[in-house]
Amino acid sequence: MLENLCQKMFGRSLWVYHANSGGCNGCDIEVLNVLTPYYDVERFGIKLVGSPRHADVMLCQGPALRSTADALRRAYEAMPAPKLVFAIGSCACGGGIWFDSYPVLGPLEKVIPVDFYVPGCPPRPEAIIYGVAVAVGMVDKKAAPVVFKQVEFPIPMYHPGQLGGDNEQVIYEKSQKVSQRA
């Protein structure tokens, strides 16, 4: 019941705080694009606020950097209790291209707990809206892991045990390939 109430209260009034911990501003531009009249997210009650103390949701861009990790953690701790963190962009989701370099600690989840991932470099504004819609419960998520397993060998395999025939001709029994013995 409390969960339903929370969802009802949360659903129409998500206040988001926009934190960049060292990204390239590509995702920032897409997040601001979401607030423009074309992808107007204020129709869902989502509003950009300037302080983490007013916010319910933190939209994070950029990887966890050595220099900004403390500031990011402090901003996370300043948010009031029912809080969500969105990792937006490849850097925040998985560390980005420079995930193994010295100043980058890695993905955002090394510093603060992340609830939703929106990959893309940068993600389309639609993808960000989709992420918010998944979080609010308007749509179901589409992403699912793909596993492909080969069950049989794609080409005929030659093995000396499968060679047959008399002295003059060698016949490979599986594919009926005939070759002359020297």
Binding site: Y117, C121, I129, Y130, V146
Partner: protein, 172 residues
Amino acid sequence: MFSKLKETLIALKPGRVTLPYPARPQPVPERFRGVPRWDGEKCIGCAGCASNCSARAILVLDICQEIRVLNYIGSRCTYCGRCAEVCPEKAITMSHDFEQATGDAADLRQRLELFMSTCQRCGRCFKIPDALEQLKMPGYRFDDLEHARWVFRSHAFLEGDAVVDDIRIELE
């Protein structure tokens, strides 16, 4: 007063521009690059995609001489399309999927398990690389799945450290 009316008229002229996005799907441009999708039937397991991936998001694990596992860590992928460009068999297509928002980063992964054909003489998949080829990372590979990173050819890995380009880095 008149100027305000004029402003109202100007504002009314474009009409409603907001896209009804989550209710109705939004088409993407023709050449849009979304999530790369592997076609396991066409893939020959050359790992060219892994060697050319700028985010090092494709890991190769040869669990034995004849089975090669390609792991795609989607969370780090920048959808640059380099893997699809270098694929000799055109087994990778950049799809139009972009709605990949998820609560679990493991949903973004793709995994291919492929049989590798071996040399009829020596029984190996790969010839033993020389020093130059070791730098280019062809042949037998065993990437670090736990930390989701490449293992460059280095003696330090044998001691159990995660090492990139022979620079010792701190993982935590």
